[in-house]
């Protein structure tokens, strides 16, 4: 159900672009207005979300420790899984952000089953996630060649490396294939593992289907319909310099691709895709486990009502004296005072 809903939404987007160009001829709207709106939403939304996160303080130091803490010099500690200072936290964050370390932990050790050693590799999710993110990054960087003139060296080099397996002409990008495979894997996984399907919301399917559609239309523009890339570059450069005009004679498929990309960009800050930013602020990962060493201050700390020793002794003085426990005050005439049980 959630899957169908998301699929319909993406198809509706495709149809919108198709009809908008083919029937209504809204080229300027789709090539100028939509990208600017999407980009504005992306920037504004991202800033808003990050500010919202940052506006809430971190009252307590609550890192999840996954390795030996710092104690004696003769006990080997684990700097990355249990950082004791900011430098080590940086190491932990790099491992998390660049290598998805926690997800990598998601592994099942070998066990013996009968006489045979049984081994199970449980890292497909890690591989799939890593593949998706890195291929996406490469594709994104490659697209810089549309927005820059001259094209920076590293973008050219990247494009060259990416297509070094010269299959057909133009060369097939490895990143494209990896991206498509990763998206399909993550989508299929969501659909066929019942626990994961059970927890999936429309917001989980939608971005995957959207990215799938972006991939398909992107590949179509490059390999099959042969969109005039020079025109596309003119448009992109113009958009970047705020002085563009809608190009003629660029295939409709390009406009579909563009609208889908714009949707993704605009949707990004308002969805779970913002996990990209959240990981940097996650208090269980970005803090050192050093609150016994250095004091962490809670900015909204306030005094609370506590039973004081005086109140305690007031309540138990007689029994304490009887038991030979030291007391601060001897019993006054007239018997023990009454201890107030609740706040006045």
């Amino acid at each position: 159900m959630n899957f169908i809903m998301s699929l319909v939404a993406v198809l509706a987007l495709v149809l919108t672009a198709f009809l908008g160009i083919e029937a209504a001829g809204l080229r300027t709207f789709f090539s100028m207005a939509v990208p600017y709106v999407a980009f504005t939403l992306f920037i504004a939304g991202t800033v808003y979300r990050v500010l919202a996160w940052a506006s809430s303080p971190v009252p307590f130091r609550i890192p999840t420790t996954a390795g030996q803490q710092k104690t004696f010099p003769w006990i080997k500690r684990n700097r990355f899984d249990n950082p004791a200072n900011k430098k080590e936290v940086l190491g932990r964050m790099i491992l998390e952000v660049l290598l998805f370390r926690s997800l990598f932990r998601n592994t099942k050790a070998e066990i013996e089953k009968g006489p045979k050693l049984y081994y199970q590799w449980e890292k497909w999710l890690w591989v799939g996630g890593l593949a998706l993110h890195y291929s996406f990054l490469v594709i994104l960087l490659r697209h810089l060649r549309f927005f820059t003139e001259p094209v920076p060296f590293f973008v050219q080099a990247l494009g060259g490396m990416d297509s070094f397996l010269q299959v057909g002409l133009p060369g097939i990008y490895i990143s494209d294939s990896v991206f498509m495979l990763a998206v399909i894997y993550l989508l299929v996984r969501r659909l066929i593992i019942p626990t994961v399907r059970y927890i999936s919301l429309p917001g989980d399917y939608f971005p995957l289907i959207l990215m799938l559609a972006i991939g398909v239309t992107g590949i179509l523009t490059r390999y099959f319909t042969r969109v005039d890339l020079l025109k596309v570059k003119q448009l992109a450069l113009g958009l970047a310099k705020f002085q563009s005009s809608a190009p003629e004679q660029v295939g409709t498929i390009f406009y579909i691709h563009l609208l889908l990309v714009c949707t993704l960009i605009a949707y990004f800050p308002f969805s779970k895709l913002m996990h990209a930013g959240g990981i940097f602020l996650s208090p269980t990962r970005n803090l050192p486990n050093d609150s016994r060493i250095r004091r962490h201050v809670n900015p909204w700390d306030y005094p609370v009502e506590v039973q004081t020793y005086a109140e305690y002794e007031e309540r138990f003085r007689e029994k304490m004296i009887e038991a030979g426990l030291p007391v601060a005050k001897e019993i006054a005439a007239g018997g023990p005072a009454v201890y107030p049980l609740t706040k006045k």
Binding site: K108, A109, I111, K113, Y118, Q120, I193, P194, T195, Y198, R315, E318, P336, V338, Y339, L341, T342
Partner: protein, 179 residues
């Protein structure tokens, strides 16, 4: 040829169908986990049940010695006894063996290799297995209550030796304390 001899070479098939049926008693989301994960530590319920069922079948189709069957039967029933199931539900999976065996031996029965008497005899042994499971189930429940009592005793064991030393929070805030 006895039923056991016919079943022995097809033990794997029998175990698989039995376990499939067993797992279907759980919610679909749970069933997937129980079946999917073959690491005994990541999936204790599923793997303990599967290995216990395998051990039970091994012995059940061979010599059927009670001292060899009770331990694996105990492993699986001990889990069932704390899974929020009525006793009938907890033990029903054992009776499924009857239907499964008929299914598996369908061809042989039609060919006359398996007689009604054979089947009746097999059924009776399944009933025996179920009765043994019932004993274990009830023992598990008893032990659960004993453990509960033991825990409460442990918790305040030292206190029981000395009376009158717990201060209760009084019933009403207006009530005066002590003495």
């Amino acid at each position: 040829m006895s039923i056991e001899n016919l079943l022995l070479p097809r033990k794997k098939e029998l175990l698989k169908s039995w376990f499939d049926l067993f797992v279907r008693a759980y919610a679909p989301e749970a069933a997937v986990m129980l079946k999917g994960e073959s690491n005994q530590f990541a999936n204790p319920v599923g793997q303990t049940s599967l290995s216990a069922m395998a051990d039970i079948l091994d012995e059940f189709l061979n010599e059927c010695r009670i001292d060899k069957i009770l331990p694996p039967l105990g492993r699986i029933i001990r889990i069932r006894a704390v899974q929020d199931l009525a006793p009938s539900r907890a033990l029903a999976f054992i009776f499924l063996l009857k239907g499964l065996v008929r299914q598996i031996l369908d061809g042989e029965t039609a060919a006359g290799k398996v007689s009604h008497a054979d089947l009746a005899e097999f059924d009776e042994r399944v009933d025996g297995l179920a009765l043994a499971a019932m004993d274990i189930y009830s023992k598990c429940r008893d032990s659960l209550y004993e453990i509960r009592i033991g825990e409460i005793k442990n918790r305040t064991n030292r206190l029981l030796l000395k009376a009158q030393i717990i201060a209760e929070v009084p019933e009403h805030k207006s009530e005066r304390h002590d003495n």
